[in-house]
């Protein structure tokens, strides 16, 4: 591959067709890209192929066919598996990615690990973008994600059209891989604390006898509001704990936040407290419910839509937001 030979529209692959990855793959097709995909569930990749994409049997096979590989898996362990193989003989994508191609790392992961990954891929001549995403499944589907990215200019030069096709906003935070992940970690700290705080506040109001709808109306128009209060407490008002993002996602993400700060010996009192609240929810059997179900750790209150006989929530597969 050389610069003259490269078309303005790189060949692109998406590995991981959860709610986020599937929406992103569709956004790329809608923008005119040929999109190859791989998922551990072959039927999901096959269904996408019926829409017009190309299904690949392995991440390695997909990697050999693209200029930009977008990884939309849950965590660092899954990225390791995608890139370096699972030990089951299928190999990994890293050895099949051609020099000058780019791995776009969209997972929420430890910033130090992400910075190191850039170096491991550089040894093979593969470029890297640290590119965690935010915005939820609906925005993934509409190509309106926010991406928090950092990496080398040469990696952007290849992947930029791909980033732009998936996102309404691409933050370019610097030349070092890891900065994107640092900002995502800070965002997850706030998101997790705000969900737990929203639950604590709503629980206190309900305990005190304030009608939940009135409380929601006032708070969402006052200085106590947060993006998460407005979004998640609507689930509580509806008594609907079907997971858009599950309690266990914040058990994981606030764990990541704390892990990222510990080597620096940096105190995070609120993140630690919120993490304990999500752990308590998970230990109580609520791990697969919507993260707003953290409100159920508060005893002695009657939540909207939860009569004396506990309503059993619909529970589709948890998705990351």
């Amino acid at each position: 591959m050389n610069d003259q030979g490269r078309s303005a529209r790189p060949r692109v692959g998406v590995v991981g067709l959860g709610a986020m990855g599937l929406g992103m793959a569709r956004s790329l097709r809608r923008a005119g890209f040929d999109v190859g995909v791989h998922d551990l569930r072959p039927e999901v990749a096959a269904a996408f192929a019926e829409e017009g994409g190309t299904a690949h049997a392995s991440a390695g096979e997909l990697a050999g066919a693209v200029d930009v590989l977008v990884g939309v898996v849950v965590n660092a362990a899954q990225v390791e598996s995608v890139l370096f193989g699972t030990g089951d003989g299928t190999g990994g994508a890293a050895e099949r990615l051609r020099p000058g191609s780019v791995y776009v790392m969209c997972s929420t992961a430890d910033p130090a690990w992400s910075a190191e990954l850039e170096k491991r891929l550089a040894e093979r001549g593969v470029l890297y973008l640290d590119a965690p995403i935010s915005g939820g499944a609906a925005r993934a589907a509409s190509g309106e994600l926010t991406m928090m990215t950092s990496g080398a200019p040469i990696a952007y030069a290849v992947a930029d059209p791909v980033l732009e096709a998936m996102s309404s906003t691409v933050y370019r935070l610097g030349g070092e891989a890891g900065i994107g992940s640092k900002v995502k970690i800070v965002n997850q700290l706030l998101a997790g604390v705000h969900i737990a705080a929203a639950a604590e506040a709503m629980a206190l109001g309900i305990k005190a006898g304030v009608p939940a709808e009135a409380l929601y109306e006032v708070i969402t128009h006052s200085a106590g509001n947060s993006w998460m209060f407005e979004n998640r407490m609507a689930h509580v008002l509806a008594g609907d704990y079907a997971p858009l993002s599950a309690v266990d996602i914040f058990v994981k993400d606030l764990g990541l936040v704390l892990d990222a700060a510990r080597p620096e010996e940096f105190p995070l009192p609120l993140a630690a407290t919120a993490h304990q609240m999500f752990l308590q929810a998970s230990a109580s059997g609520l791990g697969a419910e919507d993260d707003s179900a953290v409100i159920k750790i508060f005893p002695g209150i009657e939540l909207p839509g939860q009569g004396p006989e506990q309503r059993s929530a619909q529970r589709p597969e948890p998705r990351e937001v």
Copy 2:
């Protein structure tokens, strides 16, 4: 006084001419009310009188001249002093308020105390509205406060034109005094936790080497945003800790939140943690700085605008928000 004799425009008094009360008194004058005022600092009341209002030497004297007395003092203890006297012989407003007049209680206070105050005033035939305010000094000045009110319909019937002149939104939360204060308590829980969380998150990002301005830009456009993050972290970016609302206000308000929940034996893990953070800031000598100065409890980071020689912030008198 009888209903026929009552003009549509009640005579109104404001006691407590801090940043909030002064703005509210001016909004009332702008709306065409004759406004009497009292403040413990006679020169402040006199200055307002020069604008066209009437200064009174005591809360009792003011109370005798009005149909609606709006109390904009800091806490329950000051309300007690206004209404029932300080024991220095000047007496209180309660004994001078005429039957059928209304005391509008705008302080942030314990909801149970507020509910009890309604009964104590009712013994004298004085009506009561539980009416905490939110919105800050600028909105007080422009007549665009949010009021979180509850109380008897007959009290609203007298005070409604006064409430409307001061506010862009008057939430009417029910017939019982105390509900307004409960909602304000919930709002203060969230506001306090969000300021402390914003500080914790920004501190972590700065510690990790993320440029503070970039972090602010991303977070304010992401799911981790809150009203308080957006508002208060702008002070941190500017390195300006001149108090719009001081650290010690949240030492007080989160203390009130915890006090209100304790008789119910209701756990508030995040409010308790945030309270400790504000206490640590206050104990470190930051009590009179802007509440965003809670970020200074995080060691080993260089904050914007705070070079090796610590910038000494302008410190006007603390004001409630």
